[in-house]
Symmetry: C2
Subunit: 201 residues, 2 copies
Amino acid sequence: MPRVLSSEDVEAFRARLCEAAQTLFAERGIEAVTMRELAQALGVSPMTPYRYFKDKDAILAAVRAAAFARFAARLEAAMAAPADPLHRSRNAGQAYVDFALAEPQAYRLMFDLNQPTEGDYPELQGAIVRARRTMTVHIEAMIEAGQLEGDAELIGHLFWSVLHGMLMLQLTGKLAPTIDPVKLRGLALVTLVKGLGIATP
Amino acid sequence: MPRVLSSEDVEAFRARLCEAAQTLFAERGIEAVTMRELAQALGVSPMTPYRYFKDKDAILAAVRAAAFARFAARLEAAMAAPADPLHRSRNAGQAYVDFALAEPQAYRLMFDLNQPTEGDYPELQGAIVRARRTMTVHIEAMIEAGQLEGDAELIGHLFWSVLHGMLMLQLTGKLAPTIDPVKLRGLALVTLVKGLGIATP
DNA sequence: CAACATAAATTTACACTGTAAACAATCGTC
DNA sequence: GACGATTGTTTACAGTGTAAATTTATGTTG
């Protein structure tokens, strides 16, 4: 117990806690994880996390922010390959789906309606803004390349809505048993490409 | 306290409880409502609801089923007016949005990722199946009318995904401040109509 | 009609949750 | 070397969902 904690130590503990929380969430489900479990996973007494986070909601917000950061990083990585805007667009969509299906609990938490609004957590808000910008960047590129016309931000939100809607219906088990999610995503893609008038080579 | 309860009485109590739950959910938010509050709202002791529902999840499932039933009824009503299939389609989409925005807490509960899967609650499952069928019926009508080609169920799920995705992003506050939800829905409509090749008069 | 059996409702009790408040232990500073 | 502040722990509490025991009230029966 050092008398004073460097801000690096504080940040390190927070990171360790978020990591442990994320792991436990993925294992046992989010709502099944308790404060005491979390503390025990860090080998620390039940009240210690409260020295580093105001309350449980603050922990969830930090985990959400980390998830959005990973998410944005994946999208950016998927668009780093030097391809034409249309292909980058496809890669981004695929990365979006891959992330949601690889880390469903994280995706759940990111878009959980029961979580408090992000307004109270600046770090989380920043992560969301970054992810959102990442999603519109390639639309702007397509517009600049003359492959598409319209409001980039609005079109980006349309793509986002379609992806999010399909994934949520799938993750909540609302799709009919006869519906193949892959086919659905294929239909969505060709419909959007045609409907928006995106120029295909 | 009659000695034996007719099944009508049982059903009546369940209905009263669901109604009270729905009201409290809309007022104070879903997760803030407790079993004891619910019982008190019915003028009954805290354990009495357990005579009519196995546990809290069963109550939530019943409320969800009722919400899906109201939802399906709204959609059906919106499509009852004798218009051509395309207009009925528009009306259905509008009714979908109106319902979600008029009863956001109900819509939240219906598509809450934290709720147990509907497999354990046959009544709920039936309500969902009915709502889903309602959503594909007008697509089939358009195909039969020669205004559209393709798999009706798949296309229905695409419409559903777009509506659900836009609404969830809006309800979770994930839309950028510069995005007007009405504009977004307008763009979605014209894009789907054009992308799917729906014949417009 | 009185006594009982039984189903409905209540009361009590318990394990568990998040967290506030009091407490103990440890280190840099004078 | 003693002090004061800060970290971590212990204790305590109100509130949750719900299991078990208990009471209450009624339809049936001797």
